[in-house]
Amino acid sequence: MNRPTPRSLLIIGATVAVVVCVPLVYLAIRAFGSGWGPVEQVLTNPNTWQAAGTSVALAVAVAGTTVAIGVPAAWLITKARLRWRRTWVVLVVLPLAVPSFVASFAWLSLFPQLTGFWAAWLVLSLATVPYVILPTAAALRSLDPAHEEVARTLGSGPREAFLRAALPQVSPAVGGGALLVALYVLSDFGAVSIFRVDVLSRVIFSSYRASFDRTSAAVLGIILALLAMLIVALEQRSRGRAQRWRLATSAPRQPPALTLTPGWRAGGYGLLAAVGLLGVGVPIIATIEQFLTGASAGIDWPDLGAAMSTTALYGIVGMVTAVTLALPIGLLAARYPTRAAAILERMSFVGHALPGVVVGLSIVFVGTRLVPDFYQTLPLLAFAYAVLFIPKAGAAIRGSIATVPTVLEDVARTCGYSPWRAFRTVTMRLASPGIAAGAVLVLLTVMKELPATLMLRPTGEDTLATRLWTLTEIGSYAAAAPYAMTLILIGAIPAFLLAFPLARSVSQPESDDGGDELEDERSARRRQLEGVRR
């Protein structure tokens, strides 16, 4: 039975959820506030639909490519017998370390003739392929090998057993990954701007910068937001499907790795090497090359230092704001999972569906009209970061608090603790490592954020990302290199955090090496545990 939700917590949570939704609502008011005329003008403009069409085409092309590369790569690192398997896992996940605008800068500095749709397609595909590899590999690892074994006893050969019994079960994870890629591409601002592809996010930004009347930017923002929300809804549906298919509660035994023929093995190594080298090797090499060129001409250290300290300051302020605002929502979702809590959580997660350029634009409207004193100040920028990253912080908070049994708090209460003290000294104490890890992820993401920072940063201040963007825009690649390098190092931390659990899991003992006996022991332990639970 659910415990009654404390009223004060509900009020705080509701306030946060409403405040977070204000910019989007205000964007809609701004778009439709001047009557139907301007809206109709934007909607009947062929350029609008061309930009929307290009956005969707780029998202589909990149998502399709990442599935075509990511699924075989995930299969190789989880199922095939490979040398240096952990290294391959880390290598194919590392492209996450390189923000798309940094990768674009790097490719452009090597090949200045790169431009347009296919250049953006190449760089975005390489940057986002880990979004397909990670969930697919995790799904392949969690598959019960008994399904393929049963299929074999029912007359299927190894390939047919994989295609008919295993692949359909992995498909929700593949679909979910592809949708995340599509969302990333739709929201992307850096790569499409650097390669000059007229997709919605770039057109919105140009329209915002070029025109005094920002109604058209608002209408375009609404279109982009709706497209992104559609993708998020599809992604949540595919996640629900994956959840429903889960039958067994016990951890599956791992089957022996498959030995590939020499030809297939060479192809496999080639694919993994290409993903890693093109996704992370080329950007690093290009950045180093440009850095060395720039170093010989002299690096503007004071400028770099100022950008680093601004980045760190914005990161910390953004992290504290996002985590603080996400705390009541995460607590409600974990401890008092009522319908009201679910609604508030969904409202506060609006940033998950909104591209940075849309959040930036909507907060520009809020800032200029409702709180002009705060426009282009750090507090309003911090609020934009909160809108964008509350979902990330909230997920970490909810997950961490949910792992702490409520009975511990109950015991603390029977020891004379007030509800708040029991929560603070028991639940928060135990949940703090998970919340801290989530906070660090938010910090690192804020430090790489580009479009909202470009729109809302205080005049005269630059972060590493905005400085890199302006220097790349004017073709100063060598001068931009130190900023790119620092951003890659910042991005490498969460990429390693994501890669290591998978790398560890793929190198666990397999059943062709005594694993069967291990499984017998595991089964016995499982039964004992079940006995204890009963």
């Binding site: 008994a146 006893t153 019994a165 039958l247 069967d516 499984e519």
Partner: protein, 228 residues
């Protein structure tokens, strides 16, 4: 021996660790045998060797005088004519009950599809799940899932059905009920079956013959003969 399952001198090792050390086991056609052993005794390895998921180092396995494993012979699992009922059923979660039961039946032509549908219906009736064909596995209870797994294993009329602790995930009462039901179903189908279990009561209740395994060797044949 006459027809049925015949295993002789089966040796299996994991790396340098011997797991089965020359297992001999005969199960006459139509009989249900239990292999009883504790964790690490080698019982699951024996079952997986019969199914074809493990290659033995030496020895032979025959079903109705057809050699599955032996010097120079090794048949892939799909060619062995065995059915498998794993722990917790391992139903395909992306298929409904009918899709699971009919998974191994040929469905290339319209006639084959019609025959498969009829066979699936018969099997579902047989395991008392008539009308449940369109239900998804997650909507079934644990006992029902195991019945579906048994129907799936029987669909291709295998020569031998292998049961890998199929009742272990169920509670005691359901375990007893399902044990009796599955035993009756197997007897009616006249299929040879091997159950591996660590539960002595289960082995004695379920099987016509119980073979105790320890440290990779069958200790005594025909320990109990209480059913039939």
């Amino acid at each position: 021996m006459t027809t049925g399952l015949d295993i002789a001198g089966l040796v299996v090792s994991y790396g340098k660790t011997p797991v089965l050390k020359g297992v001999d086991l005969q199960v006459p056609e139509g009989q249900i045998a239990a292999v009883l052993g504790s964790s690490g005794s080698g019982k699951t390895t024996l079952l997986r060797s019969i199914a074809g998921f493990i290659r033995p180092k030496s020895g032979h396995i025959e079903i109705d005088h057809r050699r599955l494993v032996g010097p120079g012979v090794w048949l892939a699992p799909e060619r062995r004519d065995v059915g498998l009922v794993p722990q917790e059923g391992a139903l395909f979660p992306h298929l409904d009950v009918a899709g699971n039961v009919g998974f191994g039946l040929p469905k290339r032509t319209r006639v084959q599809r019609a025959e498969a549908a009829t066979r699936v219906e018969q099997l579902l009736e047989f395991v008392s799940l008539g009308g449940k064909g369109a239900v998804r596995p997650h909507e079934l209870s644990g006992g029902m899932q195991q019945r579906v797994a048994l129907a799936r294993a029987l669909a291709r009329e295998p020569k031998v059905v292998l049961l890998d602790e199929p009742f272990s995930a169920l509670d005691a009462e359901l375990r007893r009920e399902l044990r009796a039901a599955v035993r009756d179903l197997l007897s009616q189908a006249g299929t040879t079956a091997i159950l591996v279990t660590h539960d002595e009561d289960e082995a004695v209740d379920f099987a016509d013959a119980v073979h105790r395994i320890a440290d990779g060797q069958i200790l005594d044949q025909q320990l109990a003969q209480t059913n039939g």
